[in-house]
């Protein structure tokens, strides 16, 4: 027994026996199979190699498997201790369809499995188990239908599972699936840890699963990486479960469940929340914002599989514009879903399902609800759900209508359908009541008359895998004023053969559209159709249309198919019938046209299409022909726009169409339009096409007789025009024009012609560029045309002259075009009168026009255009009165595209001779001088790439005062234009004034967009002659309206500006477009005879102010300074400008002023003065402002000298008196001493105060001269004059007071009062007057007074001097008396 037992044990220890026993044990079950190369089991473990295991649905193969056990633990602790498990390259193949074959055949409802004790209860406790380490890796494959749908790899390692210890196994899983989009990284990946805790009795107390989950991308859905955790713990009566899945923060799924182990019932609650950030992970970014949350309560019987689920969820969706911009008008929606599902006895039933969407601010409602429980796998053939759409605003479609300039007013769509499954998994939607759409009103429409329409219809829709169809049997559209269209419409689309079948019939009465409110409708409309299109075959079973006043009369228009027609759309032919057949007939009979006016505001159209009949035939070979046996004839046609009739007459045409054998011809033959006044157009248009070759040609021929165009009687007379054109397509993209001719003649011959003498091509090149090529130029000829023909259309402008014949040639070479003139465009005897005022006469002009154009246009798929053009005007000349007035040459290069046209460069040369131009009255009135020339050139870039240079010279212009010509003026600017269209340039000006030229240099920026010139630079000049500048300005001022001959001016006097009577009303300030500031640096500023040296200051130019500030300089040895502001007040046309200024000169040498004018004159007052003056003026012109200036001034100074010069009556006598060498009377000797004092009288102080009035007169309120022996007090006036101030007439009244020697002398002459005043001076008994000029005072009244005192007579100074001369003569003749002093040598 023992031996046999030992033998048995020994046999069991043989691996072959073990393997045989294992195979025997496993293969005894159906579907099971096991093979291996080696199987060995011993007390310390099991090793297997070459394992090949199969059971229903599962196959596994493995590399060597090693399981190490610790046998003594079984003995010592009654515990199965697995020290190590190693399974590598384990391959598991699952075929779900083959799993549990016996289960698949057993009735599910009847089967109830044994109670489920829970997940933790699956851990065996009979034989306490512990695990040291485990290492498993391999792959798992899931097959379905013979192909692999899932393939993944796994790796598990870890261990440490034993009593009172938590073991942990780490896992990694990567799964690919054919169900996922292809991609190397598109895997479901998860890794984490499974932890199992056992208590002392080896019972599982906690199982946790934590890990990361990366879900694969599915299309545009890219979910964020997730984290999950699952916890299984024991609970009273079973287990409790908690699971969470977090997809970032965007979505959270939480499940809490509890197992009632006794009843095997799992209950719980699951919640899900997702917000719109979930969409942030989507590849498709333009999605609306959607947030949802929901929950489900479930109860699952694990034994029977019975299930109860109640679902509820909410949805919030808005920002539809993210999906499509046009959806911005769509409301936000709030949604609610509730559902109840049960599974009983293996049958799933949806007992309740209701989904609603409600507009947040609009009443729009979408509602879907089950009306009966639904078994999704066995849907009943009866209505079980209801779909409701209520109050859906129609204006949500407005964004799509905007391009058509159509906008709908408020309108709503409502409808409700029952949904019933149909056989073959179809669905039928049956309206519960008619759908309504309305009131549909076009609040914006290019069509002027659109009534408010309400629609009702009941669309029955059937959807199935075979066909989609919609049938409306009760279509009704109604509007006010009895507009109504009703009928039926049905459309069905068969999916299998893509056949579209449409049938319907509509009847309409549309008074609003065809007549207007309150008017009788001209006709009613009827149409019916039954058309089927399948592929390129079209079958028309029925097609009819008619417009008729009522059923009793013949229709105005009728289109009728006479029999069913099958049409090959590719070849536009019908089937071969072997005989002629008539298919369609279109007939007109007295169709009124007045209703068309309803659609064109301001247009009035009248007339009738009185007859016309066109029939569609087919030939025996299937060729189709459209013949107009009766031409379409229109009679009494009238077209008026805005009450003005443009056409009255009639016309006819006969449309003809011929199709067949791939060739088609369409002709509008016999076209005739003839007006009542005799205008007549006859012609034809024919279009031929060979469809197979995609070849087509068109021929156009028209003859136009226009005997009575408006104003033709007094202008060009009857016109006859001929148009001939033939063209064909050379390729699918290129058209060849074989013939093109347009000729317009009048009785005198040809007026205008456009002709292509040889064929030319146009179309798209291979790279899509629009291209044109001419073999010879297109020729445009214009014969001599009197400009007087334009008079009826030029209003107040009356033109005269003759445009001489022109001959222009247009050449094209692909993208390059050239327009050239054979001879200059020339107008002779040009004259223009505008509103009775002569603008030009006796004028002739000519020029060569030219254009080089590089035109690059790609019209498709997106229109792209770029071009460079240079326009030329060369050899330009304007002659006035037979004399050349203007020479001009211009080349302007332009760059452009679809959006912009930019001037790129300019070459301009011009010469203007003012002499001939001044003969034009209009130009003369604008101030153009009677002679002189201006040459100007502008060269360079206008886009900032190249510099721009301007240079010009003005010379030979007569001065406004008639004194010769103004100095030659040259100007130049060198700068560059910025992209902002601002030209920044160095400007230099030169005026050839004599003896020293005037010059100026500054930097300026000219903004071409705002047309203003901005400067912010120094203004440098060596010399400025103000008179020269004024001469330049005044030479271009308009002449005085009341011309007065200027008084003759002495040749020696400097030129002075003329007085201008003309006062323009300027529309911009004197400084024109100039803005900014100048820092003035002028070496010398001369306003002859005055000059200021070293002028510094600042000039600010604003829109309404000109400010000169911080002025300084040297004038008459004094320091000159001041400030001036000129305000521009265009709102005050009487005086547009107002000027206010302050000036001062310190230590001004009064003698220099006199000597500036009278070079040899000693000044009456010679002192250094401080002058202060304030000025104020108003006017419209610079000279006005100067002439009308009001000035208040004061002068203070001293010490100095006052000279009361002796009148130059007799030099000898004066010398005698002064010399006193001749013994005269005591009175004369006293006079002699007095004159010596007066001749050069030292003064302590000089004070002057006065005012200048607007008429130029100066009032001297006070002149006070204080000297040690005399005091002069004076007042008076300086009369206005055109001369320099020193030459103005002077009228002064003087009071002289004296003391000391002078008082003794004058007292001796009995000229003083006896009593001195408070200051000690004794006043003269009477004042004296001084006249003359400011620079040359006439002191004779003073000396007359003295003469009277000396002579005691009534004589004057002159008489006294003559007496004195006589005395001297007598003395010379008499023997000399003895004196105490020897006579002078």
């Amino acid at each position: 027994m023992v031996v046999s037992g030992a033998v048995f044990v020994g046999l069991l220890a043989i691996p072959a026996v073990q393997g045989w026993l294992l195979k025997r044990a496993l293969t005894g079950r159906p579907g099971w199979r096991v093979n291996f190369d080696h199987f060995g089991a011993g007390p310390s473990g099991v090793d297997v190699s070459g394992l090949d295991f199969a059971m229903p649905g599962v196959e596994a193969k493995s590399a060597p498997i090693v399981i190490e056990l610790t046998p003594w633990r079984l003995v010592s602790r009654r515990e199965i201790r697995i020290e190590r498990i190693e399974m590598s390259k384990l391959r598991v193949l699952l075929t779900p369809a083959h799993l549990s074959p016996d289960d698949a055949t057993a009735p599910k409802a009847a089967k109830a499995s044994k109670p489920f004790g829970g997940v933790l209860a699956q851990v065996p406790t009979t034989w306490p188990l512990s695990l040291g380490t485990a290492q498993l890796d391999g792959e798992i494959v899931v097959n379905d239908g013979g192909r692999s749908v899932v393939a993944g790899t796994f790796n598990v390692h870890g261990g440490g599972v034993s009593a009172e210890q938590t073991g942990a196994l780490a896992f990694e899983l990567a799964v690919n699936s054919a169900l996922l989009p292809p991609g190397p990284a598109n895997q479901l990946r998860s890794n984490g840890t499974v932890s199992l805790s056992l208590d002392a009795e080896h019972r599982a107390t906690r199982l946790t699963l934590d890990g990361d989950l990366t879900l694969p991308d599915y299309g545009s859905l890219v979910l964020p990486p997730g984290k999950f955790s699952v916890t299984v713990e024991p609970a009273a009566g079973g287990e409790k479960y908690h699971a969470e899945l977090h997809l970032g923060t965007a979505a959270v799924l939480v499940l809490d469940g509890q197992l009632d182990a006794a009843n095997s019932r799992l209950t719980g609650h699951a919640t899900i929340r997702a917000d719109q950030s979930l969409a942030a992970g989507l590849k498709v970014k333009n999605l609306p914002a959607v947030a949802l949350d929901g929950g489900a309560d479930f109860s699952l019987d694990l034994r029977t599989g019975d299930l109860d689920v109640n679902l509820a969820g909410n949805l919030d969706a808005h920002d539809w514009a993210a999906l499509l911009p046009q959806l911005a008008v769509v409301d936000a929606f709030k949604g609610r879903l509730t559902a109840a599902l049960t599974r009983r006895a293996g049958t799933l039933s949806v007992n309740r399902f209701e989904a609603t969407l409600q507009g947040a601010t609009s009443p729009a409602i979408f509602k879907f609800e089950l009306t009966d429980p639904l078994d999704p796998l066995h849907p009943p053939q009866r209505p079980l759900a209801r779909l409701t759409l209520e109050h859906w605003p129609l204006h949500w479609v407005n964004p799509w209508l905007a391009p058509a300039r159509v906008q709908l007013g408020p309108a709503e769509f409502s409808g409700q359908w029952t949904l019933a499954p149909t056989p073959a998994l179809g669905l039928r939607l049956t309206p519960v009541y008619p759908c309504t759409l309305g009131p549909v009103a076009l609040v914006k429409s290019p069509v002027p008359v659109t009534p408010i329409v309400n629609f009702t219809f009941s669309p029955v829709a059937e959807l199935s895998a075979q066909q989609l169809s919609v049938t409306i049997e009760d279509f009704i559209a109604t509007a006010s004023h009895e507009d109504k269209v009703d009928g039926r419409v049905a459309v069905a689309f068969t999916l299998a053969n893509h056949t579209l079948h449409a049938t319907g019939a509509l009847h309409g009465t549309l008074p609003s559209l065809l007549a207007g409110a309150g008017k009788n409708v001209p006709f009613t409309l009827n149409t019916l159709w039954d058309i089927t299109q399948s592929g390129r075959q079209l079958r028309i079973d029925k097609l009819g249309f008619s417009a008729r006043r009522d059923a009793k009369v013949t229709p105005y228009v009728s289109l009728r198919f006479l029999q069913p027609l099958s049409l090959d759309l590719d070849h536009l032919k019908t089937a071969v019938t072997g005989k002629n057949a008539e298919w369609l007939r279109l007939r007109f009979q007295h169709l009124p046209l007045a209703w068309v006016s309803r659609w064109f505001p301001a247009w009035t159209i009248g007339g009738d299409v009185i007859e016309g009949e066109t029939v569609l035939h087919s030939a025996p070979d299937g060729r189709l022909t459209l013949d107009s046996a009766v031409p379409w004839r229109v009679a009494d046609l009238s077209i008026a726009v805005g009450g003005r009739t443009f056409f009255e007459g009639g016309g006819q045409m006969a449309p003809m169409l011929d199709f067949g054998a791939g060739h088609g011809t369409f002709r509008l033959a016999g076209m005739t339009v003839e007006s009542r006044t005799g205008e007549r157009v006859t012609g034809s248009i024919a279009f031929d096409a060979i469809l197979a070759d995609r070849q087509g040609s068109t021929a156009v021929a028209f003859d136009v007789d226009l005997p009575a165009l408006p104003h033709s009687a007094e202008t060009f007379g009857p016109i006859h025009a001929v148009v001939r054109a033939r063209l064909h397509n050379q390729t699918s993209r290129l058209v060849a024009v074989d013939e093109l001719a347009l000729k317009i003649n009048n009785r005198g011959g040809e007026l205008f012609s456009l002709e292509a003498t040889q064929p030319f091509l146009f179309g798209l090149s291979n790279n899509g560029v629009f291209t044109t090529a001419t073999l010879s130029p297109l020729r445009l000829k214009v014969e001599a045309l009197p400009l007087a023909w334009l008079r009826p259309w030029t209003g107040k402008l009356v033109l005269d002259g003759t445009l001489q014949p022109c001959d222009l040639l247009l050449t094209a070479q692909f993208t390059k075009y050239q327009l050239r003139a054979q001879k200059p465009v020339h107008v002779r005897d040009f004259a223009a009168v505008f509103d009775g005022r002569e603008m030009a006469r006796d004028t002739e002009f000519s020029f060569y026009p030219g254009l080089d154009l590089d035109f690059n246009c790609v019209p498709l798929p997106k229109f792209i255009l770029a071009y460079s053009a240079t326009a030329y005007l060369t050899d330009g000349a304007i002659d006035v009165g037979g004399r050349r007035a203007v020479d001009l040459d211009l080349a302007l290069n332009l760059l452009g595209n679809t959006g912009r046209l930019l001037p790129n460069s300019l070459e301009l040369s011009s010469r203007v001779d003012f002499g001939p131009l001044s003969a034009e009255a209009a130009l003369a009135a604008r101030g153009i001088p009677r002679a002189g020339t201006l040459v100007t050139r502008i060269n360079g870039g206008l886009l900032g790439h190249d510099p721009l240079e301007v240079w010009g010279r003005l010379e030979g212009v007569p001065a406004a005062n008639g004194q010769g010509t103004i100095p030659t003026f040259e100007f130049s600017a060198h700068g560059q234009l910025s992209p902002e269209q601002t030209l920044t340039a160095d400007v230099a000006l030169g005026l050839a004034t004599s003896p020293q030229p005037t010059d100026a240099r500054f930097e300026a920026a000219f903004n071409l967009n705002q047309s203003n010139l901005v400067i912010a630079s120094g203004f440098h000049s060596s010399f400025i002659d103000v008179n020269g500048l004024l001469a330049l300005v005044t030479a271009f001022l308009p002449p005085a309206k009341s011309a007065s001959t200027p008084p003759p001016v002495a040749a020696s006097s400097p030129p002075k500006p003329s007085r201008l009577k003309y006062t323009p009303k300027p529309d911009q300030p004197l400084w024109g477009p100039l803005r900014g500031r100048f820092e003035l640096d002028i070496a010398t500023l001369q306003y002859a005879p005055y000059r200021i040296d070293g002028v510094r200051g600042r000039l600010d130019l604003r829109d309404r102010e000109l400010v000169l500030s911080d002025l300084s300089g040297a004038m008459f040895a004094g320091r000159w300074g001041g400030r001036l502001q000129l305000d521009y007040r265009p709102e005050n046309p009487a005086s547009t400008y107002e000027v206010a200024g302050e000036f001062g000169i310190e230590q001004f040498d009064s003698a220099r002023v006199v000597q500036t004018v009278f070079r040899n004159e000693l000044a009456s007052v010679e002192a250094h003065l401080n002058i202060k003056a304030t000025a104020h003026s108003r006017g419209n012109l610079p000279l006005d402002l100067i002439n009308r200036a009001e000035v208040t001034f004061t002068a203070e100074g001293g010490p100095g000298v006052v000279r009361l010069q002796v009148p130059k009556q007799d030099a000898i006598a004066t010398a005698v008196v002064f010399g006193g060498s001749i013994l005269l009377s005591p009175e004369l000797r006293a006079l002699g001493r007095l004159l010596k004092k007066f001749a050069e009288m030292p003064v302590d102080t000089v004070h002057v105060a006065g005012q200048r009035t607007t008429n130029g007169e100066v009032t001297l309120q006070e002149l006070r001269i204080q000297s040690p022996q005399a005091r002069l007090l004076a007042h008076g006036r300086i009369a206005a004059s055109d001369e320099p101030l020193m030459q103005h007439p002077l009228e002064m009244s003087f009071d002289l007071a004296a003391k000391d020697d002078t008082a003794v002398i004058l007292s001796g002459m009995s000229l003083l009062r006896w009593k001195p005043d408070d200051t000690g001076y004794r006043p003269m008994k009477e004042p004296f007057a001084i006249g003359g000029k400011v620079g040359q005072p006439d002191t004779r009244p003073l000396y007359d007074l003295l003469a009277k005192a000396v002579g005691g007579s009534k004589g004057t100074w002159g008489m006294l001097m003559r007496k004195l001369q006589d005395e001297v003569n007598k003395k010379k003749n008499a023997p000399p008396k003895k004196t105490v002093a020897p006579p002078s040598p």
């Binding site: 050449t811 040459d889 080349a891 060269n939 010279r953």
Partner: protein, 133 residues
């Protein structure tokens, strides 16, 4: 007799007066045929005599054109025209100042469309007078 003599003197005065001296300018610069977009160097020797102008034109490759031109010069406005050795006619119009001549031109080639161009020629400094020993 005296009156007759006086009339004779007055009438012949212009003839007896010394003729105005002519000026010769040498100009060199660029010329651009804007129709063909060709660019080259142009040499122009310009003789100004009152309002009359004569010139000799030479053009370097790739442009072509050389020959005698004549025209007018009034207040800076310069207009020259002539038939060139290459068989075509050129007309130049522009403005001449102390520094340069800038303007436009066109050439009429028999049997072809007019071609347009622009020029910018700088006045070359006058050669130094020959030194006399």
């Amino acid at each position: 007799m005296k009156r007759l003599l006086l009339f004779f003197i007055i009438a012949c005065a212009p003839l007896l007066a010394a003729p105005a001296p002519s000026r010769t300018l040498t100009l060199v610069g660029s010329a651009t045929n804007t129709t063909t977009e060709g660019k080259g160097v142009m040499h122009l020797t310009l003789v100004l005599n009152g309002t009359q102008a004569k010139a000799e034109l030479k053009t370097d490759a790739p442009l072509s054109g050389s020959g005698q031109l004549k025209g007018r010069f009034i207040g800076g406005w310069c207009e020259l025209e002539g038939k060139l050795a290459e068989g075509f006619t050129i007309k130049i119009r522009g403005l001449l100042n102390r520094r340069d001549l800038r303007g436009t031109y066109f050439v009429a080639i028999p049997g072809a469309a007019l071609q347009y161009g622009k020029l910018s020629l700088a006045v070359q400094p006058a050669p130094a007078p020959p030194k006399t020993s």
